[in-house]
């Protein structure tokens, strides 16, 4: 999709884009499971139900619209992807169980992967046949990601690597088929050097997975132990020793445009306004006390939408997303929290009720717990503030 790179500002979509929107809306309305009807994707049944949904989307080429057609996409641009996301969240379609692969690994693979890697991995990723988890954090490497100690040594036959170490907080690690992550291939090199980006099958000999129940009680995390796990050379992404810069490309997409499209928040904010209006009829005095926060949460979501289109226009004109991605991550994560925290305030004594079916029985509470993770994952907001201060404002490093 071409964007007019000159001409006056115009925030309207083209007729072709509106047609694309109508097609997406039509397909989603006919196919998407009812909101909240699938079990949590962190349960075994829920994981498979979400995988089935990915497969249904893939069958009609809706799972990865921005990818080239040969990998199951529609080869559309960033604006169409944002339009698709608006329709996706409008109808409250299921959370994407394949998001680690589709939104985080895939952009890196398109940039750094070999043709053979793309041919091997992208279609099963898009169809949900192979679901990926992320092997970044370690017990002693969280915000200080360069402190990674898991290592990789050459295999005796010199045809690959033997991976040893421990990864933790791997979302969807309890069920995923594949894992991408960083391992130290040169123990003598300085922190950021000597790291390599690997793609590992979770059923490889020597991999042990220990699920970790999250705050909602479901095993959304896993620890992954690697004991001399053989990984062939064909599963190194980017060059040996290039892991840090390859990984940072993924981190940029995670915080920047691809992981959290604004529709997620604008839709949640509309539902918050509806909740407010409903409470206003029942208990006006109580609702009035939340009015300012409701308006602020709606504004935060709307500002995020505008900022995303502003950034998308810059990218379409050949610009890049640099340290602004850090500002972005701070904003969306705090917006998500503000929306859900405000909803709980409106619910009052009902906020803590789960209805007996676990946290998922109260979507606002479930969303609140999910939102609480936002300022932590993808690089804590404290780390992002350092990036904004140092790279946007030029303040000196500590």
């Amino acid at each position: 999709m071409k964007n007019t790179s000159d001409g006056a500002m115009d925030l309207r979509f083209t007729p072709a884009q509106e047609e694309f929107r109508a097609e997406a809306r039509h397909w989603l309305a006919a196919n998407s499971p009812a909101p909240g009807s699938l079990p949590s994707l962190d349960t075994p049944d829920g994981f498979e139900a979400h995988r089935d949904w990915e497969q249904a989307m893939f069958a009609d080429r809706w799972s990865v619209v921005s990818w080239p057609e040969e990998f199951g996409g529609r080869d559309v641009g960033i604006l169409e992807w944002l339009i698709f996301e608006e329709e996706y969240w409008r109808i409250q379609a299921p959370v994407r169980v394949s998001q680690n692969g589709v939104f985080l690994l895939a952009p890196t693979m398109f940039e750094f992967g070999t043709d053979a890697q793309k041919a091997r991995f992208l279609r099963p990723m898009a169809s949900g046949e192979e679901i990926w988890c992320q092997g970044w954090s370690e017990p002693d490497a969280g915000s200080d990601l360069a402190g990674i100690r898991s290592r990789a040594e050459r295999s005796p036959d010199d045809d690959g690597w033997l991976l040893t170490g421990q990864k933790t907080w791997a979302s969807r690690g309890a069920y995923a088929e594949w894992c991408f992550g960083l391992f130290r291939t040169d123990p003598g090199a300085e922190r950021h050097r000597g790291l390599t980006y690997f793609l590992m099958a979770m059923d490889s000999t020597g991999v042990t997975v220990r699920p970790i129940p999250q705050i909602d009680g479901e095993p959304g995390f896993a620890e992954i132990f690697f004991e001399s796990v053989f990984v062939p050379d064909s599963q190194v992404l980017g060059g040996v020793g290039q892991g840090w810069s390859v990984a940072m490309a993924t981190a940029g997409s995670e915080r920047g445009l691809s992981l959290r499209s604004p529709a997620r928040y604008t839709e949640a904010a509309s539902r918050l306004v509806s909740l407010y209006a409903e409470r206003l009829d029942r208990d006006p005095a109580r609702a009035a006390r939340s009015a300012d926060a409701v308006a602020q949460a709606w504004m935060d979501a709307e500002a995020y939408r505008l900022n995303t289109y502003w950034t998308a226009s810059r990218v379409l004109a050949g610009g890049t997303v640099g340290p602004e991605a850090s500002a972005n991550k701070i904003h969306w994560s705090e917006t998500d929290l503000a929306i859900h925290r405000t909803a709980l305030g409106l619910l009052g004594p009902e906020a803590e009720l789960t209805g007996g079916g676990g946290v998922a029985g109260n979507p606002w509470l479930d969303g609140f717990l999910f939102a609480l993770a936002g300022p932590i994952y993808a690089g804590t907001n404290e780390i992002q503030r350092n990036v904004v201060a140092e790279r946007l404002l030029g303040l000196p490093r500590a």
């Binding site: 206003l280 500002a303 502003w310 810059r314 404290e382 503030r385 350092n386 904004v388 140092e390 404002l393």
Partner: protein, 358 residues
């Protein structure tokens, strides 16, 4: 979807920045604090560049452009805390005079484009849509020394020459605001719009003013943050620049994020108001409110943070910082506080929800 300024708009902005960097220095601002004036040499320079007449129709000597073109220039005005009334004259009065022609509007428009006429505009309450404040007679910014007054009465909107008004100055924390109360008599000669036309024009005026003011606040916020960041790099404590401490970094980063997100909100609102959709349309007005609330909050936080980063020196008359703080505080509460605008947004959203449910 093309959400970006054109090369021409960007170049004009850069040219204005260059001029104001030279002609609107902190020393110039101190001089303006001592002797505030509606028209200055700097104003003449801006008129010659086409800035002042930007929204004046071409046949009257202007550039015939709109709010969207003006926004980047207002940002520059804010960055330099320009004391002259660009919002009132170019942002508000000229478009109104052009939309509601009268016997004298051609002369006034030509005078504005030429830099000989500045305007004051009586604020409209963004919640009630009526003129003035419920607390009493409205104080009008840019009133002292203005040549033309855009005022409202029960009969409609009036354009009143300075010979027909009596202005009583009202002191402000920022003397360049030139606040005043205005005594005047509405007549049929001064009336430029009445009835539904006037009601719509006032609603649109409130939206435009909110966005124009928001644009100046963006520039002010950016200036305060950059002054504070520069200070944090040069001021040493514990043997290091204070800007290397996370406590200081996070203060500045937090407000920088707010500013980054306020910008597209203001630009998007300016674009929306320029569309053919009816003046005062719900989504256009919400956009204007979003712009004003976001920019006000970014600027007041920038004021708070930049003062904190400076420590005691920032609290002095000698330090330039206060020249920008005071304008930011004044503009943040003009044309609706951020709380006013949040309230306006929520009322509009709930109303729309009820309409779709009916």
């Amino acid at each position: 979807m093309r959400f970006a300024f054109t090369e021409q708009q960007t170049e004009f902005r850069d040219a204005v920045r260059q001029v104001l960097t030279k002609e609107c220095t902190p020393d110039d601002l101190r001089a303006a604090f001592d002797t505030p004036a509606a028209r200055t040499e700097r104003w003449t320079t801006l008129a010659e560049m086409g800035v002042v007449g930007l929204t004046v129709p071409e046949p009257r000597g202007g550039l015939g452009l709109d709010l969207l073109d003006l926004v980047p220039l207002l940002e520059e005005a804010g960055r330099s805390a320009l004391p002259e009334p660009l919002i009132e004259t170019t942002g508000l009065a000229a478009p109104l005079l052009a939309a509601f022609p009268s016997d004298r509007s051609a002369d006034w428009l030509e005078g504005i484009a030429g830099g000989q006429i500045t305007a004051a505009v009586a604020p409209v309450d963004v919640i009630s849509g009526s003129v003035g404040s419920p607390a009493g007679q409205a104080t009008v910014p840019a009133a002292v020394g203005a040549d033309l007054y855009i005022l409202s009465s029960a009969s409609g909107i009036h354009a009143v020459p300075c010979t027909d008004v009596m202005v009583t100055p009202v002191p402000s924390l920022d003397p360049t605001r030139r606040l005043g109360t205005i005594d005047w008599e509405p007549t049929t000669t001064t009336l430029i719009a009445s009835g539904e036309d006037a009601r719509e024009a006032l609603a649109h005026l409130a939206d435009r003013a909110s966005v124009a003011t928001a644009a100046e606040l963006l520039g002010l916020a950016d200036r305060m943050i950059s002054i504070a960041a520069a200070y944090a790099k040069e001021r040493n404590q514990f043997g290091k620049p204070i800007g290397s401490f996370q406590a200081v970094k996070h203060l500045l980063a937090g407000v920088q994020v707010k500013l980054e997100f306020a910008r597209p909100a203001v630009y998007g609102a300016a674009w929306s108001l320029g569309q053919v959709e009816p003046a005062g349309s719900a989504s256009g007005s919400r956009g204007a409110s979003l712009a004003k609330a976001y920019a006000s909050d970014a600027a007041t936080e920038a004021a708070r943070v930049s003062l904190q980063v400076h420590g005691a020196i920032g609290y002095t008359w000698e330090c330039d910082l206060h020249l920008y703080l005071k304008r930011a505080w004044a503009l943040a509460e003009s044309w609706g506080s951020s709380a006013d605008h949040r309230s306006r947004i929520l009322a509009s959203l709930v109303e729309e929800l009820h309409q779709t449910q009916d």
